[in-house]
C-alpha cells in the first residue's frame, strides 16, 4: 500500500502479551484495553468452535440421505452453532471492540465502572464454557437456539443440555446487561471536554443506542430463561395449554428479545462502517444527523416487530398486519444509512485497503440481506418462505455478509492501534477475496433451496428432490472455502502481531481520538486530549495544535488497582448456575466464591 507512510521500527520494543507479569496480570486486569483484547480472543475461540460446527453441518448436507452425522448429533450441532455465533461470537465480539474503543474515542481513561467491565467479560467466558460443558454432561441442547416449547419441555427433552443452555445464557446475559449499563454511563459521564453528544463518533453513538437496546432485550431474555428453567425443573406449566398456559407465550417472549437482538448484532457494525468508509474515502460521513437519528428510529421500531417471526403461527389478522407494517417501516431508516454511506464514498478519494474492501462489500451484501428481509414483512411471502433455507440465506447475509464483514473491516482498521503493528495487506487481500467468494457460494444458493421447498433444521433430505443435491453440494463447497479464508485471517493475526510492519500512531490518517495517542495506547490512554470542535477532532486541528499539541487539555491519569474480584465473582456466579444443573455442592462452592469476591471487591477503594 503505497499510500500508507512507512514508520520506522521503534527503538523501544512494542508491548507484548507476555510482558506485564504474564497471565495473572490479565486475570486481575481492569484495564478496558486488556479486557477488550480478552473479549476478542475469547470470541475468536468461540468463533472457531461455531465454525467447526458449521463445517460438520455442511458436510452432512453435502449429499442427500448422508449417514455422516446421526440426527441427534446434527441437532446438537445446529443448536450449538446458532447459540454460539449469536451469544458467544457476534454480540460479544462487538462488545469487545466497543470495550476497547469507546473510552479511547471519547477521550476517557477507562470505562465508568472498570471492575464491572471485567465482570462482564468473565461472565461471558465462564458462561460460554458452561454451555460447552454440556457436551460432557449428558449431551448438548437439541432444541435450536430458540428452544421452542413444548419441544424444550422435560416431557420431550430430558437431556440436561437444555438446562445448561438456559443457565449459561442467563449467566452471559447478566454480563451483557452490565456491559450495556457501563457503556451508557461511560458515554454520559466520561466524555472529554468539548465532546458534546452531537459530536460523538458514530461508532460510539450507535454503540450507546445499542446499549439501551441491550438493557430491554437481554432483561427480557433472562426473565424468559428463568421461566423455561423452572418450567423444566419444577413443572411450572407457564407454556402448557392443558394447564391454562400457552405455548405461544414463549414465542412472544423469545422474539420480543430476539428481534431487538438482531439489531444488537447489527447496530455496532453500522457504527464500524460509519467510521471506516469516511476515513478511507477522505470525506466526512454524509448526513451525520440522519445516520445518527435513523439509529434511534431503528431502536424504537425494533421493539415493535417481533411477531414477524410468528406469521405462520396463525395470530389474528389485524395483529399480523400491524407487525407487517412495522417491519416494513424499519427498512426506511436502514435504507437511509446505506444511501448515506454510498454518498460518503461518492466524490471521495478512496483507498482500497483490506478494511475498505470489507466495508464497501458490506454495503452490497447487507443490501441483499435487507431486501430479502423486507420480503418477510410481506406476510404471504413469509408464509411460503419462513422456516426454509431462504431464511438461513437471509439471516447469514445480514449477520455474516453484514456484521462479520464489518468486524473484519474493523479488525484491519483497528488492529494497528491495538498492537502497534499493521496486519499484512497481502494476506488481507487473500482473506477478503476468499471470504467474499466463499460466502456467496455458501449462502446465495440457499435462497433457491428455500424457494424450492427445503425446510430448515433438517439433518438430511430426500435424494429424489430435483436440484437439491447439487445446490447443497455447492453450498458445502462454499463453506470449505470460507474455512480456508478464516485460517488465512488467523494466520495473518498471528504473524502480524509478532512481526507486522510498525503502524505508528495514525496509519490511516483517522480523525477520531483513538488516533491521537500512541499505538498501542499507554495504560492511562492519553497524556493530553486535543480540543474537540466536531465529530472529527483530529481533522479540525490547526497546524500549531497538531505539531505542538497547543491547546490540548490534560486528562485524568489515575490508574485503579488491579483486582481478582471480578473474575472470582464471575466464577462464583457461574458455579451457582452450574450447581443448579447438577448438585447443590457446586452451588455452595459458588456462593463461597461470591462471598470471597465481594469482600475483595469492597475492600479495595
Amino acid at each position: 500500500m503505497s499510500q500508507i507512510p512507512l514508520v520506522p521500527e521503534s527503538e523501544i520494543p512494542l508491548p507484548r502479551l507476555r510482558d506485564d507479569n504474564g497471565l495473572l496480570s490479565w486475570i486481575a486486569s481492569i484495564d478496558h484495553k486488556q479486557i477488550g483484547i480478552m473479549y476478542l480472543l475469547a470470541t475468536l475461540f468461540f468463533f472457531a468452535l461455531g465454525g467447526i460446527e458449521a463445517l460438520l453441518l455442511r458436510t452432512q448436507l453435502a449429499r442427500p440421505e448422508s449417514q455422516f452425522l446421526s440426527p441427534d448429533a446434527y441437532n446438537e450441532l445446529f443448536t450449538m452453532h446458532g447459540t454460539t455465533m449469536i451469544f458467544l461470537v457476534v454480540m460479544p465480539m462487538l462488545i469487545g471492540f466497543a470495550t476497547y474503543f469507546v473510552p479511547l474515542m471519547i477521550g476517557a481513561r477507562d470505562m465508568l465502572f472498570p471492575r464491572v467491565n471485567a465482570l462482564s467479560f468473565w461472565l461471558l467466558l465462564f458462561g460460554g464454557l458452561l454451555l460447552y460443558f454440556s457436551f460432557f454432561a449428558g449431551g448438548a441442547p437439541t432444541a435450536g437456539w430458540f428452544s421452542y416449547v413444548p419441544l424444550s419441555q422435560r416431557a420431550y427433552n430430558t437431556s440436561p443440555g437444555l438446562d445448561y443452555w438456559s443457565l449459561a445464557l442467563f449467566g452471559t446475559g447478566i454480563g451483557t446487561i452490565l456491559a450495556g449499563v457501563n457503556f451508557i454511563g461511560t458515554v454520559l459521564v466520561l466524555r472529554a471536554p468539548g465532546m458534546k453528544l452531537t459530536r460523538l463518533p458514530l461508532f460510539v453513538w450507535m454503540n450507546s443506542v445499542n446499549s439501551v437496546l441491550i438493557l430491554g432485550a437481554l432483561s427480557l431474555l433472562n426473565a424468559s430463561l428463568i421461566m423455561l428453567f423452572v418450567e423444566r425443573q419444577f413443572d411450572m406449566r407457564f407454556f402448557d395449554e392443558a394447564s391454562g398456559g400457552d405455548p405461544l407465550l414463549w414465542q412472544h417472549l423469545f422474539w420480543a428479545f430476539g428481534h431487538p437482538e438482531v439489531y444488537i448484532m447489527v447496530l455496532p457494525a453500522f457504527g464500524m462502517i460509519s467510521e471506516i468508509i469516511p476515513v478511507f474515502s477522505r470525506k466526512p460521513i454524509f448526513g451525520y444527523a440522519f445516520v445518527a437519528g435513523s439509529t434511534v428510529a431503528i431502536m424504537v421500531l425494533s421493539y415493535l416487530v417481533w411477531a414477524h417471526h410468528m406469521f405462520a403461527v396463525g395470530l389474528p389478522r389485524i395483529f399480523n398486519i400491524f407487525f407487517a407494517l412495522a417491519s416494513m417501516l424499519i427498512a426506511v431508516p436502514t435504507g437511509v444509512k446505506i444511501f448515506n454511506w454510498m454518498a460518503t464514498m461518492w466524490g471521495g478519494a478512496i483507498r482500497f485497503t483490506t478494511a475498505m474492501l470489507f466495508a464497501s462489500s458490506f454495503l452490497i451484501l447487507f443490501t441483499i440481506g435487507g431486501l430479502s428481509g423486507v420480503s418477510f414483512a410481506v406476510v404471504p411471502i413469509d408464509w411460503q418462505t419462513t422456516d426454509t433455507y431462504y431464511v438461513v440465506a437471509h439471516m447469514h447475509y445480514v449477520l455474516f455478509g453484514g456484521t462479520l464483514f464489518a468486524i473484519f473491516a474493523a479488525t484491519y482498521y483497528w488492529f494497528p492501534k491495538m498492537t502497534g503493528r499493521l496486519l499484512s495487506e497481502r494476506l488481507g487481500k487473500w482473506h477478503f477475496w476468499l471470504t467474499f467468494v466463499g460466502f456467496n457460494t455458501t449462502f446465495m444458493v440457499q435462497h433457491f433451496l428455500g424457494l424450492m421447498g427445503m425446510p430448515r433444521r433438517v439433518y438430511t433430505y430426500p435424494a429424489d428432490m430435483p436440484g437439491w443435491a447439487l445446490l447443497n453440494l455447492i453450498s458445502t463447497i462454499g463453506a470449505y472455502i470460507l474455512a480456508v479464508s478464516v485460517l488465512i485471517f488467523v494466520w495473518n493475526l498471528v504473524v502480524s502481531w509478532r512481526r507486522g510492519a510498525a503502524a505508528g500512531d495514525n496509519p490511516w490518517q483517522g480523525w477520531t481520538l483513538e488516533w491521537a495517542t500512541s499505538s498501542p495506547p499507554p495504560v492511562h490512554n492519553f497524556e493530553r486530549v486535543p480540543p474537540i470542535r466536531s465529530h472529527r477532532p483530529l481533522y479540525d486541528l490547526t497546524p500549531a495544535e497538531r505539531t505542538n499539541q497547543a491547546g490540548w487539555s490534560a486528562v485524568s491519569q489515575e490508574i485503579p488497582q488491579p483486582t481478582y474480584a471480578p473474575a472470582t465473582l464471575a466464577l462464583g456466579i457461574i458455579f451457582v448456575l452450574w450447581g443448579l444443573a447438577t448438585t447443590w455442592l457446586i452451588s455452595a462452592v459458588g456462593l463461597g466464591l461470591i462471598v470471597l469476591a465481594l469482600q475483595l471487591w469492597f475492600r479495595q477503594k
Binding site: 389478522r317 482500497f352 414483512a377 424457494l451
Partner: protein
C-alpha cells in the same frame, strides 16, 4: 410459475407477489451495487491527489431517499394486505372440516370426518374443490406445508387452526413439516395426491371399506401377532380390536406409496426391513423395536399386505 411451482390459486397469488417484490428488490440492489462500484472506480485515490471536497450532507437528498422508499413500502403494504385475504380467507363462523390433519412426532394423522376414513402421511383430495382443513398437533409444534399448494400453517398442541386447500391439476405434490420438531424432523415428509373427482370417489370408497381379516396361513398368524404383541397398543386396523391412535392407522397400509413418513418406498422388502429394525432406519422413532424374529416379521408383513 417462477420462483416455485404453483398448483393452486392460493400459491399463485404468493408467487405473483414474490415476483413483484423481487423486481423491486433487484432494481434497488442494482442501484446500490452500481453506485458502490462506480464510486470505487471513479473516485479511487490517485497519487498526489489533494483531499476531496468535504461534503457534509444534503437535506433534499436525505428527504428524497427517506420518502421514496416509504412510498414504495406503502405500495407493498397495500398489496400485502390484499394478498393476505386471497391466500388465507377466514374460515366460516361455524366451520365443518373436510379433513383433520394432526401432526405427531414424526408422522401425519389424516382424517376424513364425513367419510369416517383414517390414513397417515398421504393426503388424497379431488381437484378443483376448495377444502377446509382443521390443523391440530398431538405433541410438540409442527408446521403443515405443501410448498406448491398453500400457505404454511403451524400446528400447535391444544389450539386449532384452519386452512383452505385447493389443487388445480391431478398429480402428486410433496410437502414436509416445516417447524423443528425433534430428532426426526427431517423425515416428517408429506405427500398429497390430487385426483380427478370421480377417481377420488373411488379412492375414498375403497378406504372406507373394512378389510376382511385373513383366516389362514402367514397372514392369519400375522393378524394374531398384531393383537398379541404390542402393535395394537398404538396402531389401529379397522375391523379388529386395535383402535389406538398413538401411531399411524394401518387399515389400508398396502395402498400407500411410502412408509415412515416418506422415508421408504412401500415395497415388500422395505416393509420387512422396517418391522425388523425401525431404529436403524429412523433413529429416534417412537416405534419400539420389538426384536421380532424373521418368521414373525414375515407373518406381520404378509398380514399388512393383505389389507388393501
Amino acid at each position: 410459475m417462477f420462483p416455485f411451482d404453483t398448483a393452486s390459486p392460493q400459491s399463485a397469488v404468493i408467487a405473483e407477489l414474490f415476483n413483484l417484490i423481487a423486481v423491486i428488490a433487484v432494481v434497488i440492489f442494482i442501484i446500490v451495487t452500481l453506485g458502490v462500484l462506480w464510486s470505487a472506480w471513479r473516485y479511487r485515490h490517485q497519487d498526489g491527489q489533494p483531499e476531496p471536497r468535504q461534503i457534509k450532507g444534503n437535506l433534499p437528498l436525505e428527504i428524497g431517499w427517506t420518502l421514496i422508499p416509504l412510498l414504495i413500502l406503502i405500495f407493498v403494504a397495500v398489496r400485502t394486505v390484499a394478498a393476505m385475504d386471497l391466500v388465507d380467507p377466514a374460515p366460516p363462523v361455524d366451520p365443518t372440516p373436510d379433513l383433520i390433519i394432526t401432526g405427531h412426532q414424526w408422522w401425519w394423522e389424516i382424517e376424513y370426518p364425513q367419510a369416517g376414513v383414517m390414513t397417515a402421511n398421504e393426503i388424497h383430495i379431488p381437484t378443483g374443490q376448495r377444502l377446509l382443513l382443521q390443523i391440530e398437533a398431538a405433541d410438540v409444534l409442527h408446521s403443515f406445508w405443501l410448498p406448491q399448494l398453500a400457505r404454511k400453517v403451524d400446528m400447535i398442541p391444544g389450539q386449532t387452526r384452519w386452512l383452505w386447500l385447493e389443487v388445480d391439476e391431478p398429480g402428486v405434490y410433496s410437502g414436509a413439516c416445516a417447524e423443528f420438531c425433534g430428532a426426526q424432523h427431517a423425515w416428517m415428509r408429506l405427500r398429497l395426491t390430487a385426483h380427478a373427482p370421480d377417481e377420488y370417489e373411488q379412492w375414498l370408497t375403497q378406504q372406507a371399506q373394512t378389510p376382511a381379516q385373513p383366516t389362514t396361513g402367514d397372514a392369519a398368524a400375522g393378524a394374531q401377532l398384531f393383537q398379541e404383541r404390542t402393535c395394537v397398543n398404538c396402531h389401529a386396523i379397522a375391523g379388529t380390536a386395535g383402535q389406538a391412535r398413538v401411531g399411524p392407522d394401518l387399515t389400508h397400509l398396502a395402498t400407500r406409496a411410502t412408509l415412515a413418513a416418506g422415508l421408504l418406498t412401500n415395497t415388500p422388502e422395505n416393509l420387512r426391513a422396517w418391522l425388523k429394525a425401525p431404529h436403524t432406519l429412523k433413529p429416534g422413532t417412537l416405534m419400539p423395536d420389538l426384536h421380532l424374529t424373521d418368521a414373525e416379521v414375515e407373518q406381520l408383513a404378509t398380514y399388512l399386505e393383505t389389507l388393501p
